[in-house]
Symmetry: C2
Subunit: 96 residues, 2 copies
Amino acid sequence: MIRHTVLFRLRHDAGSEAEAAFLENALALANIPGVTNFAQLRVLDAEDFDYAFSMDFADQVAYDGYNGHPDHTAFVADRWVPEVAAFREIDYTPLG
Amino acid sequence: MIRHTVLFRLRHDAGSEAEAAFLENALALANIPGVTNFAQLRVLDAEDFDYAFSMDFADQVAYDGYNGHPDHTAFVADRWVPEVAAFREIDYTPLG
């Protein structure tokens, strides 16, 4: 299992309609094949990031399928790149 | 729910007995009251951290109870401080 997380900060003001629209739109990522346990999270007590998405993939093949899926690449091009001010991806795999 | 994660890098060499002993010892954190979904994770493709622990708390009261629990404070004093070279805590709470 690979847990993919991405922490980010939007260009929008906190509490704005644009912020809400971005988060609402991103919910569709959960429907891309291979994505499980999709969650939208608020990052607490961090100065660099406000939000995070977390999702689990069974393996690298599933992860690659998500990355290359047209719904994902369209989201990145249409929403992520123009609306995200900063981000960091952190991926994990269980130990043992 | 609050998800508490801590990413870290040990002073020990990768694959060393000291590294394995640290991780084995840290499994006991899962038994502290309030801790759920405890997981030890390897951080993938990051230069700053090698491992992470993740755990969920029902609320801030449960989180505070963990922080102040003697098994936790002893772990921090006896293992974490001397054996961890760098770390970052990232806490999350689900949106919506």
